[in-house]
């Protein structure tokens, strides 16, 4: 009796596992995780194919992809040439959406402060220590700043948000580039570290005079007060989805970026992009796949999924507070996906 029951159960398990034999697994960046979760659900509804994505962090995503434990990875920081070589050399970066980094602060009664690259870098370098510094006042005529020390808050965990933010600072400030540099975790000259967006926002919330950076979507959802940043055209821009998309369009005006995109290399930087409406601290997030797929069945599904993500899937981005890819880039990305060999 028991044996018979066991046999039935075993048979059941076997057929169940055979039915869902092809599952595409991916892991990586946490920043786009909520979006991918939504996309994968919608994709499964539309096609019946199952795609898994785990938000374990960009570093872990690249490691697992390199080790071959996942079919694709997700990262906020483009892989370096060495990392690509370690992963077999045939890595394609597929941009999915864009994110922006907002500078948030806590000064009761002071709204919409304006900052430029030099002042922002000096604050995070610890050169500007107090809110009543003349450099801040010069950018904000008519605003009276309190005589309060500035408390810098940054991410303590390695993060793509930190990568985008420090890339921006390194690009606009030579002393930041020389002293600190850019990466997912850096040696901060001043300040305290909070874990995750929530940690940084928490530090800002309870400390008057604090300033820090968080993902735009997080700042929007929680209604944090954000600073307007001066872009390359000299305008002060509020971080929004529109000014994020504008940055992508602006970045494509540059000759070098256009060349990269045309050659199918989408590891472009959107930091400090030209264009009068461009917000300056913007970055892409990518899915990483092999250009030569070894498993034909998986490769076919993966190609179809990626094509869906950068076309139909884009409509889910704005409601989850991600900026969708500009039309001009989309077509290039689709043809790069079509070039994946199975």
């Amino acid at each position: 009796m028991i044996k018979k029951a066991l046999g039935v159960i075993c048979a059941g398990l076997l057929t169940a596992s055979m039915a869902s034999a092809v599952v595409i697994n991916g892991a990586g960046a946490t920043f786009p995780y909520p979006l991918y979760l939504k996309l994968n659900t919608e994709y499964q509804k539309a096609t019946g194919k199952q795609i898994n994505y785990q938000g374990i962090g960009s570093g872990g995503g690249i490691r697992q992809f390199t080790a071959g434990t996942t079919d694709f990875g997700g990262t906020d920081a483009a892989m370096t040439e060495k990392e690509i070589a370690d992963a077999g050399g045939d890595v394609l970066h597929i941009p999915t959406v864009m994110g922006a980094v907002a500078v948030s602060y806590n000064l009761p009664g002071v709204k919409d402060i304006k900052l430029d690259a030099g002042v922002l870098a000096d604050i995070f370098l610890g050169k500007i220590k107090n809110w009543d510094h003349s450099a801040i006042a010069a950018l904000n005529p008519g605003v009276s700043f309190p005589n309060k020390p500035i408390l810098v808050a940054h991410r303590s965990d390695g993060s793509g948000t930190t990568d985008i933010f420090t890339n921006y600072l390194a690009r606009v400030s030579t002393s930041w580039a020389a002293k600190v540099g850019a990466g997912k975790a850096v040696k901060w000259p001043v300040g305290v570290g909070g874990k995750g967006n929530a940690g940084v926002a928490g530090v800002i919330k309870v400390n008057e005079g604090a300033i820090g950076y968080v993902e735009l979507s997080y700042a929007m959802e929680n209604g944090l007060s954000v600073a307007l940043l001066k872009n390359r055209a000299g305008k002060f821009i509020r971080p929004t989805l529109d000014s994020t998309s504008a940055a992508a369009a602006g970045a494509l005006e540059a000759e070098k970026t256009r060349k990269m995109v045309n050659s199918g290399d989408f590891r472009i930087s959107l930091c400090n992009a030209p264009g009068k409406d461009s917000y300056p601290i913007v970055g892409l997030t990518w899915l990483i796949v092999h250009k030569n797929q070894k498993n034909a069945e998986k490769g076919k599904i993966l190609k179809d999924y990626l094509r869906w993500v950068v076309t139909t899937g884009q409509k889910y981005a704005p409601e989850l507070l991600y900026a969708p890819l500009p039309e001009t880039v989309k077509n290039k990305v689709v043809s790069a996906i079509d070039g994946i060999k199975i």
Binding site: I56, G59, S156, D157, G158, K184, A185, V186, G194, V206
Partner: protein, 305 residues
């Protein structure tokens, strides 16, 4: 039949017991293997260097070792008197129903997840420490360098206080059990000799329970050394050795939790795993010292005529 059962019981029990050292050994072997690149590259200098720059691939463990030890010591300074006092009240002083309620609440403290402690630390405890505790300490002990510098809710002191609250249930519950296990005839003898309540507690409870108290404190210390989430949220995560407890600091467990997910380069990963090895080593040393203390205390008691 019975002897066969006994033999099997013996074998199975042995297998279960042996699994503990095997597990520990497996963990050590793995840590050493995975951190070999870092051990090989930095050698002993890793322990005494205080530079932490992942971009330049320069790593030193000293600020984290310092932060781990100091935050745990602060926790013990606060939690040991509190925990022992609470345990004494529960086992020796109170005869009323209130003690049952207090005992339940102490156990509830242990059941709160550490991330909840961390959130409470950021939004409630941190500001209170920065606005009330630190000004008070500085106004009285301001001449000591450890109580100087600007006030901050994200500090070594906040981490120590959070840890104190988290280890309090461990210390209280275990010492209460230890006090309860002291035979009653000791108390009765002391009372019969004319000792007051406090003298009875001192001679007949605290004395014989010494080794058990050390055990309770060590278990608490073990939790404090390894606690990750709550500490990460309130300590400020700054890899610097500061003389002041008002300044932000960093612990071994925190830096591993913070940087492990995004570490890409082999050396970065190896360094983080070596920090884990260092933490394990510190825990082993602390436990060793505790063992020695317990042995010395118990042998002293026995040596008495």
């Amino acid at each position: 039949m019975r002897s066969a059962g006994d033999a099997w019981f013996k074998r199975i029990a042995f297998a279960f017991a042996a699994s503990i050292p095997v597990l520990l050994l497996a963990i050590i072997v793995l840590l050493v293997k995975q951190s070999w690149l870092s051990i090989h590259t930095f050698g002993a200098g890793f322990i005494i260097s205080s530079v932490w720059d992942p971009l330049a691939d320069e790593y030193g463990a000293l600020p984290f070792i310092y932060g781990t030890l100091v935050s745990s010591i602060i926790a013990l300074i606060i939690a040991v008197p509190l925990g022992l006092g609470c345990a004494l009240y529960l086992s020796e002083v109170s005869r009323s129903k209130t003690k049952e309620y207090i005992a339940v609440m102490v156990e509830l403290l242990a059941a709160i997840p550490s991330v909840v402690y961390g959130l409470w630390g950021i939004f409630v405890l941190g500001p209170w420490i920065a606005n009330v505790v630190q000004p008070f300490l500085r106004s009285i002990f301001g001449f000591l360098p450890i109580f100087q510098g600007p006030y901050s809710g994200l500090s070594m002191l906040s981490a120590g206080v959070i840890l104190a609250i988290m280890v309090l249930p461990t210390i209280t519950a275990i010492s209460r059990e230890v006090f309860n296990s002291v035979p009653n005839y000791l108390r009765e003898s002391a009372l019969a000799l004319g000792a007051t309540k406090w003298e009875t507690v001192k001679i007949a409870v605290l004395g014989p329970a010494r080794s058990g108290i050390v055990g309770a404190v060590i278990l608490g210390l073990g939790r404090a050394l390894g606690e990750t989430m709550a500490v990460t949220m309130v300590i400020g995560n700054r890899p610097e050795i500061s003389s002041s407890v008002f300044a932000p600091a960093y612990t071994l467990a925190s830096v591993i939790a913070n940087e492990f997910a995004e570490a890409v380069s082999d050396i970065n990963l190896a360094v983080l795993i070596e920090l884990g090895l260092v933490l394990l080593f510190i825990t082993v040393v602390v436990n060793g010292i505790a063992r020695l203390m317990v042995w010395r205390l118990t042998s002293k008691v026995k040596a008495r005529p």
